[in-house]
């Protein structure tokens, strides 16, 4: 409980900090959360994730911008822009390291990336996927890329497996890529080794999986059947809160909060919902300091879970149910 209090004190401080340092954030708070900034959990102001697509939101001067993260915008859509100073970027790496090392250990592992190798043209500006790959690459060495010209590069794969598959190795990829290549396209007869020593971390993009109706459970089952891959960890996170991501519990598959993060569920009137009730997911993170992203309302639906899992016992955890089904707006304007 003390930790919880400490967390919310920090969030309150961050809210005040951003109020002081971001002109736009201040205007939003003045108009939508009038009066003194509140300390209670349910009254912490929140802004929608999508707002980063429309408005330049940052709490640092232009001079201090060290890196810009960009969401991978859907076809033709606008992209979110997250402005980082050096300090914030370092903090993200530090926290990601702390959270991920619980799964991967402190040692760097040989790493297979389920993607194509890309040349980063501008080291100061990249999209969410590249940011994730770069972020997780720090936990690996001998990086190999599985895909070449949109196909599995079996030569590279078998080389990698020959050398490293006899002890623990690390695979990272976006969920939909893992599905596309490791479940759908891979040809077992071309493989010389199996994946039983692998630890797979994957995240992002359940939207595609929902469309083809592949649940996390089926996903895991298929990887086990096909490749003997059993150590699989899904993660959930926002580009607005890079670093403080949520890994699923190995046993109950709920996303587990860390000391850097918290989650709240709100109903259609933005009232806070009790455990086991489905609503909009609000995510809190102690990391965002160069931009006001510490309290974000997502478009994802989810619920906080109370269960008897003995592995993640005592921790706050939640499930994500994906996005509310989009219904067509009425009317004649297409703006």
């Amino acid at each position: 409980m003390n930790n919880q209090n400490q967390f919310y004190k920090e969030i309150y401080r961050l809210t005040k900090y951003h109020y002081k340092n971001s002109k736009e954030y201040k205007k939003i708070l003045n108009l939508l959360f009038p009066g003194k900034i509140k300390k209670t959990i349910e009254n912490i102001p929140f802004i929608p994730a999508k707002l980063f697509k429309d408005i330049k939101l940052k709490s640092i001067s232009d001079k201090k911008v060290f890196k810009i993260l960009q969401s991978s915008g859907t076809s033709g859509g606008k992209t979110s822009k997250i402005y980082l100073d050096k300090q914030n970027a370092q903090k993200q790496t530090f926290v990601l390291n702390e959270i991920a090392s619980k799964i991967l250990g402190k040692q760097r592992l040989p790493m297979l990336i389920i993607d194509e190798k890309k040349n980063i043209s501008d080291p100061k500006q990249f999209d969410a996927k590249t940011a994730a790959i770069l972020g997780f690459s720090l936990f690996g060495n001998s990086h190999h890329y599985l895909i070449k010209e949109k196909k599995i590069d079996y030569k590279t794969l078998n080389n990698f497996m020959e050398k490293y598959s006899n002890s623990t190795f690390f695979i990272f990829g976006f969920t939909s890529y893992v599905y596309e290549f490791l479940i759908k396209s891979i040809n077992n007869s071309k493989l010389k080794k199996n994946f039983s020593n692998a630890v797979l971390i994957h995240g992002g993009g359940w939207k595609k999986m929902e469309k083809i109706k592949i649940s996390n459970e089926i996903f895991k089952k298929k990887l086990k059947e096909k490749l003997k891959l059993e150590n699989i960890f899904n993660y959930y996170g926002l580009i607005e809160q890079t670093g403080s991501i949520f890994f699923e519990c190995r046993k109950c598959s709920c996303f587990v909060t860390s000391k850097y993060s918290d989650v709240l569920i709100r109903d259609k009137n933005f009232k806070i919902l009790n455990n086991n009730k489905v609503g909009f997911i609000q995510l809190l993170s102690l990391l965002p300091k160069s931009y006001p992203g510490h309290s974000i309302l997502t478009e994802d639906m989810g619920e906080i879970i109370e269960n008897n899992c003995n592995l993640c016992f005592g921790k706050k955890k939640f499930l994500v149910h994906g996005r509310a089904e989009k219904s067509e707006i009425r009317g004649c304007s297409d703006v």
Binding site: L32, P34, K50, L51, K268, N269, I329, C332
Partner: protein, 393 residues
């Protein structure tokens, strides 16, 4: 790009011939259509079909015919290519009826999204045409296609008029396809609409009258997610600033919306994002009031000529108190379409447009009639534009 042309009504042998406006055949056809539509099994689930059936009932068509001076020696232009909007399922029929009443042959492109209403209407039209072995047969062609520039190019070059229901994007993309030198385009572009109420005049209204007004306001807005070009985004309260009446108005609206409006939750975060976006980017906001997430109300302290960008959806309104009409004349530009009113003399509003040389405001109608489509729409006198007059001396 050669997407298949799917003929929902008619076939590739469509006519481009003109004929007399309000022809007997068309009037009979519409009469049958209206009656049979009203008889379909699930009509009560489709208020838009019900409204359509009501609109083309004999009485309304006869009224329109009477208003149209038949001695004018007019005939249709020929073939019309209609490009209809993606989000209103029944709009394409109104467009088609405009073409029929004015004496034209019609090729109507319907939205690629498969609305049940479109299927119901098309099979009914087919049935009527077949049963009556109607001369209108090759004058009503309804098609659906995507990505077929060849077809768009060909029909654009052949037709005598195009009716293009916007957005602006659709209009601009169709401008890439040339039409004949004598042909015309009627473009229904993206528009902005607003509402003027005189609170001091409304103070005399009874509770019942206010409730009734609010119901009509609801029909103008929430019924179409506030996303029709004629749905108001801005409310101007004229004259004396009657706080009490305004409060009553919003409270009544909130009570109604709570019961009636099915707000899709997927739009909620988008609506909230819009609100935050306005809060962060505008500098003329006095305050914001939220009635849960059902009504967002942004009161402006000043109003400027960029006001037409302040556009809400799903019940996000801008509000401004104005001492008199003169104060808002500078915000009006050619984006402004419908002005709905209450407690204000319509002749005063007409004067406002004429005497201030305004480029905008094409419709001045009481609250509740913003969506009522007619033959004078968006500033266009459709009957005259889609037919030609013959000088005979």
């Amino acid at each position: 790009m050669t997407g298949k042309i799917n003929y929902l009504v008619g076939n590739a042998k469509f006519s481009f011939d003109p004929y007399e406006p309000f022809s007997k055949e068309v009037c009979i056809f519409l009469d049958i259509f209206s009656k049979e539509l009203n008889l379909i099994k699930d009509i009560k689930n489709y208020p838009d079909l019900k409204a359509l059936s009501f609109w083309c009932r004999n009485k309304n068509i006869s009224k329109l015919k009477k208003n149209f001076n038949l001695d004018k020696n007019r005939i249709g232009l020929g073939g019309i290519f209609h490009v209809t909007p993606a989000n209103i399922p029944t709009n394409f029929v109104y467009s088609l009826i405009f073409g029929l009443l004015t004496g034209n042959s019609n090729v109507v492109k319907v939205p690629s999204k498969e609305f049940e209403q479109v299927n119901i209407i098309c099979s009914l039209i087919k049935k009527i045409l077949k049963k009556t072995n109607n001369v209108l047969k090759n004058k009503i062609t309804i098609i659906r296609y995507t990505d077929n520039n060849e077809f768009t190019k060909k029909i654009s070059s052949r037709c005598n008029a195009r009716i293009i229901w916007g957005g602006d994007q659709t209009i601009n993309s169709l401008r890439n396809f040339k039409i004949n030198e004598r042909a015309i385009d009627i473009n229904f572009a993206d528009r902005y609409s607003f509402c003027i109420m005189d609170a001091s005049k409304m103070e005399k209204m009874s509770n019942f009258e206010i409730k009734n007004l609010v119901q009509r306001f609801y029909n103008d807005t929430y019924l179409v997610d506030q996303n029709a070009c004629s749905s108001p985004h801005l409310i101007v309260w004229l004259g004396k600033n009657s706080k009490k009446l305004k409060e009553k108005f919003w409270k009544e609206l909130y009570d109604l919306v709570k019961i009636k409006y099915k707000f899709n939750e997927s739009a909620l975060v988008e609506k909230y994002t819009d609100l935050c976006k306005f809060a962060a980017s505008l500098n003329n906001i006095k305050n914001i009031q939220k009635f849960n997430n059902l009504i967002y109300k942004i009161e402006l302290k000043k109003i400027d000529k960029n006001n037409h960008n302040n556009r809400g959806k799903w019940g996000l309104f801008f509000e401004y108190n104005s001492k008199n009409l003169a104060e808002i004349k500078n915000i009006i530009n050619n984006k402004y379409q419908t002005l709905t009113y209450c407690g204000v003399d319509k002749l005063l509003l007409k004067k406002f447009v004429l005497q201030n040389n305004l480029k905008g405001i094409d419709r001045i109608v009481p609250i509740g009639q913003s969506l009522n489509i007619g033959l004078l729409w968006d500033g266009y006198d459709i009957l005259n534009i889609l037919s030609r007059g013959i000088e005979i001396k």
